[in-house]
Symmetry: C2
DNA sequence: GTCTATACTCTGATAGAC
DNA sequence: GTCTATCAGAGTATAGAC
């Protein structure tokens, strides 16, 4: 039975997970071309031919990682409820995105590396699903602004700012920690800071 | 005469520049390991051995690019004047950083890729110069806050937020443009948005 | 200073024994 | 399913002619 067909044995399931976990580590730090199967195989505790028994090529391992990544990444935005309280919904989105950056930094970096390199393997998804979702949510934000429930500001750039500020703590983790020094929890401090930032930015008084 | 010793002939100077320009392009999109000398040489219009006549190794080409990069990157922060008007100084810093992201996106990405990969070739500089400068400017910001001239907020995370928001437009350029669609100038819009964001965040009324 | 030729290593992928 | 052995190609770097 091919390892790509379901159902898989327990050992196959386990090995696939080991490989994808190792691949996530390597691809997210070295990019596609900089990653090597040797490194992935060693980290997964398998031989290189064995790795290639589970995935037919390097490309396929990478593709398996990217599949679903964008969905995971967009779920927090999707969850923003048009019927909810604007500031609660937006702060909830910021919170969920920051938690994602804290709990899945490798996924965050994988995404960042991919986009940084011009998104050769994600362009479609970015120009399709991502763009549509942002447009949809921008309409929601605009309506909230029209109703005077939050301050007026460019809704798309508001979303960009949430992405930028939360990703920064995952992607530039090394720099953040180097500057803060020991005895700091970057994500706790970021949570407090971003709460203040977006509260002031969106205060309807403006 | 070694090509690394000054003075260099006009042709040497020109070739070094061609190489560094090509290398910037390649290293900034593929990272150190993903970049190849073949690609750099071809883009520079030189043969590979000729490239290696000017730089003894791939490592040295990369090092030549990183040298000075951090300085360029920190200059806008350095220029923030403790004796100036707080909001003018901070907005000036945001402006300069955004201009840098717009005019030197490859340098921005090179820096981002390096940090993303754990800063293996910049750790020292980040833990040294970068950290010291941030600490120094954080004191300046704190003093402004103590004097009630800008609203109180964590000064170090304020600096992080400026980095995150300005870099985002360079590093995630592909994504930003894909979402905005044609007919938008990301950097013009970002300038307007960030002006509002930081004005509200730092409004002393808070 | 620049090229051709080449040494040597690494990398992705396959063959075939077990 | 996993391993050893191995291949072809790409990669960094050097030697030496001109």
């Amino acid at each position: 039975m091919s390892p790509n067909a379901r159902p898989r044995s327990r050992i196959q399931q386990r090995n696939r997970e080991l490989i994808l976990d190792a691949a996530l580590e390597v691809f997210s730090t070295h990019g596609f071309r900089g990653a090597t199967l040797d490194q992935i195989a060693e980290m997964a505790g398998l031989s290189k031919p064995n790795l290639l028994y589970y995935f037919p090529s390097k490309e396929e391992v990478h593709k398996a990682l990217l599949t679903g990544l964008l969905d995971t990444w967009l779920d927090p935005l999707r969850a923003m409820d048009p019927a909810g309280d604007p500031r609660v919904e937006i702060m909830g989105y910021v919170r969920r995105k920051l938690d994602l950056a804290r709990d899945f930094p490798r996924e965050s970096r994988l995404f960042a590396v991919e986009v940084l390199q011009g998104a050769p393997r994600m362009r479609e998804a970015i120009e399709g699903d991502l763009r549509r979702l942002v447009e949809e949510k921008a309409v929601v934000l605009s309506r909230w602004m029209d109703g005077g429930r939050i301050a007026r500001v460019d809704p798309v750039h508001l979303i960009f700012s949430i992405w930028a500020l939360t990703q920064h703590y995952a992607d530039f983790d090394v720099q953040v920690r180097a500057v803060l020094g020991p005895g700091h929890d970057p994500f706790v401090e970021a949570g407090r800071f971003l709460e203040i930032l977006f509260a002031r930015l969106l205060d309807p008084v403006h």
